[in-house]
């Protein structure tokens, strides 16, 4: 323990800070408008000390591990701490200024007590549409300019009052202004609430004392992380995987992860990854960082707090201008897909060192699905976005979960009844895909099929995803899972789409999104007879000798 730090008071302060970010999250989620935030929980809240070190964070998506942590300090540096006053709020979404993709808009507010800065509160939320070439702003583009409205640090709130000019400017550039404006109100209210709570805590404890305990909390966290890292097996661990393509060409994109564990702690070396590509499959450094931070967090005790004391122990090396550290003006809408693959590849590298903990490859894709058009019921433009579950990888002692989100995200599905009430689309099918899990002594989880039926209007439909060419791999003799398929008119001609596509769907058309199954574990011949029978009985496997698709996972 640091000198003069009371370990008991530290625990009490830790709880008080957590209570503030929890409260902030609840307020944002419950009063937000867009499905992404309210149902799918695609947002996060954080608190920073005066040095812009994160002291508390609340999130339900690991993708948010790296977002605010990087964007908030850059925002304050660029806008100028001295230009921000208590009660203000500054917006930013520019991926090339330390943020992630344009849909994730962050709002940062300084907190002062008696004219003295005590820290910052911030939140970031995924807005369903930020303009650009396609509804949902997650389409097939070549430059960030085509992906939507770019917000450098811009003051939205001054002295507690929202600037209507900024709101009108944003509203005119996006497809779901009503939803987004409701979300902005919720974001502003969340910061105001957290600001009040932090002020109250500072007044109760004393500003200096609060600062001291914030630092102590970071040191305490660092100490725990360091102790756990020291117990990880030292060595260099390496794996390579490939993305299908950059969305325009046909060349696979290399994701190369080298993990070094040793006296210097843990480092993720991504310098072997390919250069940034033409399409949207580029991650900013913040996005790639989220992927490796997730991997490290998953290897540690689950109750280690997430704050700067954790982040400073998680080191990444990458090359500017690469697919994991993209430079202006790269398109980045698919950057989370890259981040996902970085995490999967890091796990593949570490699999042998943690045989009972790390599963075989999971579905491995976010699976960004977005669409929109004019709602014939109202004549208004609508935009919809969601991501879809798939198979989890099998473990050395159990099957992979069927139909679940994995690794870097954990977003819920909107209920079919709610989607159909609010949007002019019908979900024709939402089911597991039999035989999609990789065979093995333990079977990979099944992928999911979700069919969108545009009954009565023309829609623009985009998918920004991957894994149609390279299937999730099995481990220790386990088979790969079935790769992804994106199919127009699935029960008719069945035209397969590429994994990044923006298409026009005529009225009456159906698009079927089919996510990958997880990789299997161990020799399929060793599968327990009871388990194999149960698979047949439940229809998860259709014939006794089904072990997955072609064994090398490559679809010709």
């Amino acid at each position: 323990m640091d000198s003069e730090i009371d370990p008991i008071r530290l625990e009490v302060v830790k709880n008080a800070l957590l209570a503030i970010t929890d409260e902030m999250s609840a307020a944002l989620q419950r009063s937000a408008y867009s499905t992404n935030i309210k149902t799918r929980g695609d947002f996060s809240c954080a608190m920073f000390d005066t040095d812009l070190r994160v002291v508390g964070q609340s999130f339900s998506q690991p993708t948010h591990l790296g977002s605010l942590v990087h964007s908030a300090p850059r925002l304050v540096a660029e806008y100028g701490a001295g230009n921000m006053r208590h009660g203000d709020g500054v917006l930013m979404n520019d991926a090339h200024r330390g943020a992630v993709h344009l849909n994730d808009i962050s709002l940062v507010s300084p907190v002062d007590v008696g004219g003295r800065r005590i820290g910052y509160v911030a939140n970031v939320a995924h807005h369903v549409d930020v303009g650009g070439s396609t509804p949902g702003s997650l389409g097939l583009n070549r430059e960030i300019f085509q992906e939507g409205l770019i917000l450098p640090p811009v003051q939205l709130v001054a002295g507690g009052v929202i600037d209507d000019d900024i709101i009108r400017l944003i509203a005119a550039n996006i497809r779901s202004p009503r939803e987004s404006l409701g979300d902005f109100r919720a974001q502003v209210a969340a910061n105001q609430l957290a600001s009040r709570r932090l002020v109250a805590l500072a007044e109760e404890m004393g500003t200096d004392e609060l600062g001291r305990y914030m630092s102590a909390l970071l040191n305490y966290t660092q100490r725990r992380v360091a102790r756990e890292i020291a117990e990880l097996p030292a060595g260099e661990y390496h794996a390579v995987d490939f993305l299908d393509d950059d969305g325009f060409g046909d060349t696979p994109v290399k994701i190369d992860v080298l993990v070094r564990i040793g006296d210097g702690g843990i480092e993720f070396d991504l310098t072997g990854c390919d250069a940034q590509g033409t399409g949207p499959m580029n991650a900013t450094a913040s996005m790639a960082y989220s992927g490796v931070a997730y991997v490290l967090k998953a290897l540690l005790d689950t109750d280690i707090p997430v704050n700067d004391g954790f982040y400073r122990m998680c080191k990444v090396r990458s090359t500017a201008g690469s697919v994991v550290n993209a430079s202006h003006p790269a398109a980045v809408a698919g950057g989370w897909e890259v981040c996902f693959r970085v995490a999967e590849t890091a796990f593949a590298a570490l699999a042998d060192a943690f045989p009972d903990r790390i599963p075989a490859a999971t579905k491995g894709i976010i699976c960004n699905v977005s669409f929109g058009g004019v709602d014939p019921r109202t004549g208004d433009y609508y935009a919809f976005y969601e991501t879809i579950a798939g198979g989890y990888g099998a473990h050395s002692h159990m099957d992979g979960m069927d139909g679940v989100q994995s690794h870097i995200h954990n977003t819920e599905n909107a209920p079919v009844e709610e989607i159909e009430l609010n949007y002019p689309v019908r979900i024709a099918q939402f089911s597991l895909i039999p035989d999609s899990g990789g065979g093995g002594e333990f079977r990979g989880g099944l992928g999911v099929r979700r069919d969108y039926w545009f009954v009565d209007h023309d829609a623009t439909f985009s998918v920004v995803s991957d894994r149609t060419k390279f299937a999730p791999a099995g481990v220790a003799g386990g088979q790969p899972g079935r790769p992804a398929h994106f199919v127009v008119d699935p029960d008719g001609v069945g035209r397969e789409l590429r994994s990044k596509a923006t298409i026009r769907v005529p009225a009456g058309g159906i698009v079927s999104v089919q996510t990958p199954g997880g990789g299997g574990y161990g020799d399929p011949a060793r599968r327990d007879g009871e388990a194999a029978l149960a698979d047949l009985r439940t229809g998860k496997v259709s014939t006794a000798d089904t072990v997955g698709p072609d064994t090398d996972g490559r679809i010709s």
Partner: protein, 696 residues
């Protein structure tokens, strides 16, 4: 002839009973819980009452029971083999569920296995659109095929949950009646009848939980009824619902999903009754037991309800429950925030050198170190003992002697030595850390929902609630602490205060501005008729039932609703009044509201309340007071961080309204101990026998 009422609450360790007569006398019993057959504990409690008074069918006029049988059936996997019939294309409604995993970073954590395995989920061909329009009519051949499969699978019952049935139940009814015809004797349950709200997974899950626990709950209730009949007592009794109302055992056999949180509900009902009688508009309840602390909110004498409960959910590391770790139900459950900190919670040092408390608990066996039953790990109870906040001589009314040395040793070895603190400092630290967790739960239910604790009274009960209430109230700024009489058995007392209730809900999503007053009246009256029918089945006539109406509302585009009361259905401006009330409630809860945004009505709700046994209430909450001189039972010198003080122990029963007990002091009674800190004082009120703790 005297008449009697009996409330029986089955807890983890003890089965508590409160027994009253019409003359206002009250007896309290604690008998061991019998987990293998909880009905044994139940009749032991009945027999304890029979030793006090010769009970007959005629003189035992009211028997109310809280049971954990329904929840345990899920946790222990004693569920029935149930079939599920769904719309074509949605066979994996349960398998996929919410498509999320319960823990973000634990690579090994699994989502719960569906209560209906995939081979018992059968699709039928039919499809409705979101306004109930028919896209594909019911294909009777597909229903016949489903019936064949269900017959072959030998299911005990079948749930039918088709898309959009909450708005248009015709398809479900057609499928249901064909199945009943083809499978005579099989239980068929329609989601549009059990809980007609939208969001298909949650509606299906509610119905499935209900049907899956039905055989176990039914068998239990029948075994209890048989035992009552053996004792020549009536087998008509009430069970406590999760919503805080009673329902007859017969009705509960068909709606066992309503019994999920039966026990904890009763304590909150007792708190609500207290709040009404004492005219306290804003109350927070604090119930601390061996492993958890539960806090609830009572506004204007009414507890708040939640519709987002998950049965069998696992505790989350930071408090509360992990989302998607259990089976969701949408039926009403009294809103309690739970945190893994109680008297048995164990103290430990983590790898970063911080002192932690819970969520692991020593439970009742071996229990805290001071129980001297083999426990060596320090607990919150041990820390309280070392600090002099529990009197080792008067625990459980003196029936159990506590081992102070064992508590001392456990704290020394596991906390004080590794942290380089004295035992007293470490003990004080354990209490501070436990209080910090509990304070987080209290903040969740107050400030997080826009309520200022300074406007609230804190009512503390459970074995350890009265021990921590003073410190927590001081931390959060509660105006006053109240310890009701017999706080250790308040839940059992609450059973006798329960009204008989039934709630119905239906989703009808419509813009607020398009709803006319006649629409409002018609739709809510239709629901009210359903409520009245359910209560009529339980012997309550329409004249006895007070109906209340409410609407779940949101801004168009939001996904969480706020429940807004419709206080006067006959008011021609009721819709506009609800609209205004919603805007205020939104501002209160979230700090903002857009006045000109479109507002939607989502779920329409009607609650019916018929009085249980109102005349019995004076007796059940009021304590007994014995006149006489008041002197401490004993005093002892105790050290804490601030020095050494003399702490006196008083017997609660000896306190009269004129007596003020100055802190630090311990006030002991059967089943609970209150602690009054330095700078505070306690006094007993003359009306209800409540103990108040206030600042000097």
């Amino acid at each position: 002839m005297s008449t009697y009422q009996l409330g029986i609450d089955i807890g983890g360790t003890f089965t508590d009973a409160v027994f009253t007569d019409d003359g206002g006398r009250r007896w309290v019993f604690k008998v061991p819980t019998t987990p293998a057959d909880p009905g044994v504990g139940f009749v032991d409690a009945v027999d304890a009452a029979r030793e006090v008074a010769p009970l007959t069918t005629d003189n035992l006029v009211h028997l109310v029971h809280a049971t954990t049988v329904a929840t345990n059936a899920i946790i222990e996997g004693k569920t029935a083999r149930v079939g599920l019939v769904v719309t074509e294309g949605f066979r994996d409604l349960l398998e996929i569920g919410r498509q999320i995993r319960p823990d973000l970073f634990d690579l090994l954590r699994q989502k719960p296995k569906p209560l209906v395995p995939r081979d018992l989920v059968i699709e039928v061909r039919e499809r409705l659109g979101p306004t109930g329009e028919v896209l594909t009519p019911v294909d009777t051949r597909s229903v016949a095929r489903a019936a064949d499969l269900l017959r072959e699978a030998k299911v005990s019952g079948v749930v039918v949950c088709l898309l959009h049935s909450y708005v248009e139940p015709r398809h479900e009814r057609a499928v249901g009646s064909q199945l009943r015809e083809l499978l005579p004797g099989l239980e068929v349950s329609l989601s549009s009848e059990v809980w007609p709200e939208f969001r298909e997974y949650f509606r299906a899950s509610t119905c499935i939980v209900n049907m899956a626990i039905q055989p176990v709950v039914r068998a239990y209730l029948e075994s209890v009824q048989a035992r009552l009949r053996e004792r020549a007592l009536s087998s008509d009794f009430y069970v406590m619902q999760s919503s805080g109302g009673g329902m007859t055992a017969e009705a509960a056999k068909n709606l066992p999903v309503q019994l999920i949180e039966s026990g904890p509900a009763a304590g909150l009902i007792a708190t609500s009754e207290l709040a009404r009688r004492m005219d306290w508009p804003r109350v927070v309840s604090l119930d601390i037991g061996g492993t958890t602390a539960k806090v609830g909110l009572v506004l204007d004498g009414r507890p708040t309800l939640s519709y987002e409960y998950e049965v069998g959910a696992m505790a989350a590391p930071g408090g509360g429950r992990s989302k998607a770790s259990g089976y969701p139900i949408r039926t009403p459950v009294l809103d309690l925030v739970e945190i893994g900190a109680g008297g048995g919670s164990m103290a430990w040092i983590d790898s970063g050198g911080a002192l932690r408390v819970g969520p692991a608990s020593a439970g009742a066996d071996p229990g805290p170190a001071c129980y001297a039953r083999g426990g060596t790990v320090p607990t919150v109870t041990d820390a309280n003992l070392v600090l002099g906040r529990i009197d080792p001589q008067s625990f459980l009314g003196g029936a159990m002697k506590l081992d102070l040395d064992a508590a001392h040793l456990a704290i020394e070895q596991h906390c004080a030595a590794p942290l380089g603190l004295s035992v007293v400092e470490a003990a004080a630290g354990i209490i501070d850390v436990a209080n910090a967790s509990m304070a987080r739960a209290l903040r969740l239910i107050t400030v997080q929902r826009g309520h200022d604790p300074r406007d609230f009274v804190l009512v503390a009960y459970g074995g350890a609630g009265p021990l921590h209430a003073n410190a927590l109230a001081a931390d959060l700024g509660f105006s006053r602490v109240v310890i009701p009489p017999d706080p250790g058995v308040l839940s059992a007392a609450g059973l006798l205060l329960a009204d008989v209730t039934h709630i119905e809900s239906n989703t009808h999503l419509v813009p607020c501005d398009t709803v006319t007053h006649p629409d409002l009246v018609e739709r809510l009256r239709t629901l009210a008729d359903r409520v009245l029918r359910r209560l009529a089945d339980q012997g309550k006539s329409a004249e006895q039932v007070a109906l209340s109406y409410s609407l779940d509302m949101r801004f168009h585009g939001q996904s969480y609703e706020l429940n807004i009361a419709v206080p006067n259905l006959d008011d021609p401006h009721a819709v506009a009044a609800a609209r205004d009330a919603f805007i205020s409630a939104h501002e209160q809860a979230y700090g903002h509201a857009a006045r000109d945004e479109e507002i939607e009505l989502v779920n329409w709700k009607v609650s019916g309340v018929a009085p249980g046994f109102r005349h019995a209430q004076a007796a059940t909450i009021d304590g007994q007071m014995v006149d006489g001189p008041v002197a401490p039972v004993r005093s002892r010198e105790v050290s804490d961080r601030h020095g050494t003080a003399v702490i006196s122990t008083f017997d609660r029963l000896s306190l009269t309204p004129s007596v003020v007990v100055w802190g630090p002091a311990v006030i002991s009674e059967m089943g609970a101990t209150s602690f009054v800190h330095d700078g505070y004082h306690a006094s007993q009120d003359s009306r209800g026998g409540n103990l108040y703790i206030e600042k000097d």
